[in-house]
Amino acid sequence: MTKLKSLAFWKKPIPYEWRNPEFWKDTAWAYIYLIPAVVILAAFTFYPFFATFRLSLYKVSFTNFPGKYIGLENFRYIFAHKYFWSSLWHTVVIVGVSVPITLLLALMVANLLNKSLRFRTFARTSFFLSYITPMVAVIMVWRLMYNEQYGLINYVLGLFNIQSISWLNKPEAALPAVIILNIWRYVGYQAIILLAGMQGIDQMYYEAARIDGASGFQVWRKITVPLLTPQIFFLLIISMIGSFKVFTEIFVLFNGPGALKSAQTLVYYIMDQGFFGTPHYGRAAAASIILFAIIFIVTIIQMQVAKRRVHYQ
């Protein structure tokens, strides 16, 4: 209740400095400089955000916008729609598999890049290239690599006498194809973030550990990883939010949602409802709100966990 009371800003006295004209002389220009950004954010972020809530309650009509008010009917439709649940499951699989694997690999890569290797700069640049290369170009190349007849991946599998996999045309191979692509794309970026964190750790901790006779693994586990928790936590949040919003990889890789919708994620489901086939903007808006709620709840949980587990120097 105390926290809620503190939100009642209209009951608070006007801050003393606001009554001072000198305060406004100093800060007025700051607010004026902020106006263009606020206007753009209001028009293209805040307004669409709140308009989505409104649209989700309508059967949207373009010729009689916004259309017919139907209350929660769009939400009822979505929760009863089998493709919503399959899309949600596919999204959970992508998040649950790609996020921890990417982070683990990134930790290992960062650890390697932190050592005094020859061509270290070249190695760091190479790992980061996967992230800075335009997404669509990357996915087009991976489409060729995944080609069943001529793809590089099946060629390498063939060298080990493993049968070719129809990555792009078989339902069971669709999610693994997306996950592998996702991991490859973001390992470099996360490794660079973790590398920066590693290089910010005070060397005195390592020296003290060496004096105490700690092994390399103990140093890594007891010093490096705990002191990297701010970066790890940041990457967990960013990568989880990003993985929940996977769409472009699927759309370009499969030219659709994958065989039998085997790679259809929540964002693809939203696009399908709103823009592919008969447009149902109200349902797309409702699905967007559900996705927002899921990401919001997951982020809140992560923040609560972080309070106990993240160590700041």
Partner: protein, 401 residues
């Protein structure tokens, strides 16, 4: 006094000249499209000829980007009330905005309407056909010297051309290629050829699951073991399939891919089931009823111009699409094309027996249900009866609108 009078007379003369200039200014028809480079040049030539015949009308072509960008801009324009005079539409874009379109039937004579290929007439003539292509049979002549003409021949050739050339247990070439999710229209051709349909004439009943529909679906399923089932474009792997049902608009891509593979690709009319039929795709032109009345009249005049035999023939000749009128198929320019480019003969021959997509408001969702049905059948995820039953149930829920 004299100076003041002179100033008043000069001002009045200037206003009068302005009014006269405005009265004589041509009516500008704003036409939204998505054709770029070569196709846009063809459009501009058509408007030059039209404007020469109609000096008081100016056609302003406005390129709107890709098809999806154009669709979004049409949606935004309708919602905002800032519509152009006319634009192109895919047929499944029309239902959400049909209340904004002008029914064109009253502006066309019976003869003009009868000249439009019957399968292309849209409900209430809300739109008229513009750039159209039709499904044809592509075949690699190196593997299929003579194209099939019946379903039985099609099936036999598919079986004969599904081969494991090096005996390693992996099929090296399939007889046919299908894209069930992306292109259910391949199945629609078979359905139409078997006298089947998705809905009955007044859209009150789903007829997909009747005897004709089941028979077409069973034939479709029988080709699965001899088919490359994919989401990729079938010409992306020329030589991997011996035959394919694909759009005539893709001929240049097929030709280029075959040439690079050292193969020869040709087109033929689709194998005939109980009757000859094919599926026509492409866009229509619609006029917005909220446009300026003078612009609407000018737009209608331009529409009729585009549908004249020589001009629909010219547009088709220059773009690789097909004439949309019976007169256009018989025009001198199209006959010249047929004489010099034999690859269009098959598509031209089938246009009179082509059908377009349903103009049902929920056709987009129906098509999605049918795509899933086609995938389930071809990937063996369900039996034909199960897949059809699921599609019928889903489409029945979409009959109301």
């Amino acid at each position: 006094m004299k100076l003041r009078s002179l100033m008043i007379v000069t001002l009045l003369a200037a206003f009068a000249m302005g009014f006269v200039a405005m009265a004589q200014a041509p009516v500008t028809v704003e036409f939204w499209h998505r054709f770029s480079s070569r196709h846009e040049t063809t459009l501009e030539q058509l408007s030059v000829w039209f404007e020469a015949l109609n000096p008081d009308i100016n056609i302003e072509w406005v390129y709107q980007g890709s098809y999806s960008a154009l669709q979004q801009k049409i949606t935004g324009a309708v919602v905002a009330g800032e519509v152009p005079t006319m634009t192109i539409f895919y047929e499944d874009w029309i239902p959400p905005v049909e209340d904004a379109l002008l029914p064109l039937g009253p502006y066309f004579t019976a003869e003009e309407t009868a000249d439009i290929i019957p399968g292309l007439l849209y409900k209430d003539m809300l739109t008229v056909p513009f750039n159209k292509s039709i499904m044809v049979l592509y075949y690699i002549e190196d593997y299929v010297p003579v194209p099939p003409t019946t379903w039985q021949e099609f099936y036999d050739m598919a079986v004969a051309n599904t081969v494991d050339e090096d005996g390693d247990g992996t099929i090296d070439r399939y007889g046919v290629g299908f894209r069930p999710a992306a292109n259910p229209e391949q199945f629609f051709c078979l359905l139409e050829q078997n006298n089947g349909s998705i809905l009955n004439a007044d859209w009150t009943e789903v007829t997909l699951g009747n005897a004709a529909g089941l028979e077409a679906a069973n034939f479709y399923a029988s080709l699965a073991p001899y088919s490359w089932i994919t989401s990729e474009y079938l010409n992306s792997n020329v030589g991997y399939v011996a035959m394919a049902i694909d759009t005539s608009a893709g001929y240049s891509y097929w030709e280029a891919a075959a040439e690079s593979a050292g193969l020869t690709v040709k087109t033929a009319v689709l194998p005939v089931g109980k009757k000859a039929a094919s599926f026509i795709q492409g866009t229509n032109i619609g006029i917005f009823k909220d446009a300026d009345p003078a612009e609407i009249q000018a737009g209608i005049a331009f529409l009729k111009f585009l549908l004249q035999p020589e001009y629909t023939g010219y547009f088709a000749a220059m773009t690789g699409y097909l004439p949309v009128t019976i007169g256009g198929l018989d025009s001198a320019v199209w006959n010249y094309v047929l004489a010099t480019a034999p690859e269009v003969a098959a598509s031209s021959e089938m246009m009179p027996v082509g059908v377009g997509s349903l103009s049902h408001p929920n056709y987009g969702d129906m098509r999605a249900a049918l795509s899933t049905m086609c995938e389930e059948i071809m990937l063996g995820a369900a039996t034909v009866e199960e897949a059809i039953a699921a599609a019928v149930a889903e489409i029945e829920a979409l009959l109301d609108y």
